[in-house]
Symmetry: C2
Subunit: 206 residues, 2 copies
Amino acid sequence: MGPPVEPPPGITDARLARQIAFLLEIDQLKSVLRQSHLIDRSRRENDAEHSWHLAMLAVVLGEYAAAEVDQARVIRMLLIHDLVEVYAGDTFLYDTQAAASQAERERAAADRLFPQLPGDQADELRALWDEFEERRTPDARFARALDRVQPLLLNFYTAGSTWLPHRVSRADVLAHQKTVEDGSPALWAYIRVMIDEAVRRGYLLA
Amino acid sequence: MGPPVEPPPGITDARLARQIAFLLEIDQLKSVLRQSHLIDRSRRENDAEHSWHLAMLAVVLGEYAAAEVDQARVIRMLLIHDLVEVYAGDTFLYDTQAAASQAERERAAADRLFPQLPGDQADELRALWDEFEERRTPDARFARALDRVQPLLLNFYTAGSTWLPHRVSRADVLAHQKTVEDGSPALWAYIRVMIDEAVRRGYLLA
């Protein structure tokens, strides 16, 4: 991390300067690498691309939500859901050791990140992030389902490029069934077929 | 580009299969490089990251729109505004030769890309993309202003990393003043100060 971003001399609008500093701070999300690979297998995906891709899933797949959802809220939730990783880093879904400390690390990151915004916006985005984490509302449940579906798609269409080196099994993937099914039974039906086929093709351990 | 994405055998929902194929096709946006660099100057930014960053600008800076805007529409517009570049590539703002053929190349790309979605969604996203291109509505004008502001911020906070090698001048940047000012007078006031400071610091030719 570099020094905090200073506005050019002569800027008197402190609120706007603060908002812009936040937007530059989160530029770091483009450098947080995930375990997934791009479909062309050229490299690993980063959090900013992942967040964009998820927002596009919400745009295109909204009709499959388990309950009526507010698409605009789901999209905003997905745009911000990984912001804390600029400080906490990405935690691989199947890394149980890192997962143990994940919630705490991410809460600490949220405490540090969101207050960089003006108070009203800090509260609003923090509440939206908490809602995603707590997965109690239909919007959050659908958003979380999409967050599981996207890496499954990338894995399947790259012949298990993340599953195989990490020795991920069918049972590991099925452990997250409830997250997808709760948010979208229709997407779960699709993914279930895909998982079986992935095992058949040797992308995923039986 | 690889072969078209086939659903796993056993999938009978043709609409969903088509939507997922589209979502995998646009994965290529992550490989379309722009001229801008990340704030840490480690590499060039790609279109998917740029689209996410713009959507975050819309989330945080919505209050500065020139007219009342529908934030959710602005965000969706920004998420999709560069999709055509999976076929048409990125055109550098200050490359006047490429700009001459840009509109035609991008229209051809739109004609090829959006119909990969089911008809209702193809029409909806194409209309949103056309609206952005035509910049006639308040939503489109605000979205376009943000699309100009984001690379200006990246350039300023990387000491002119794109401006200098391309010998971009103050007059070149000011030629786009109307796009920012039409969408957001408040952001233009900020950017104007930033441009003067960029010239003073030698990031931008006088």
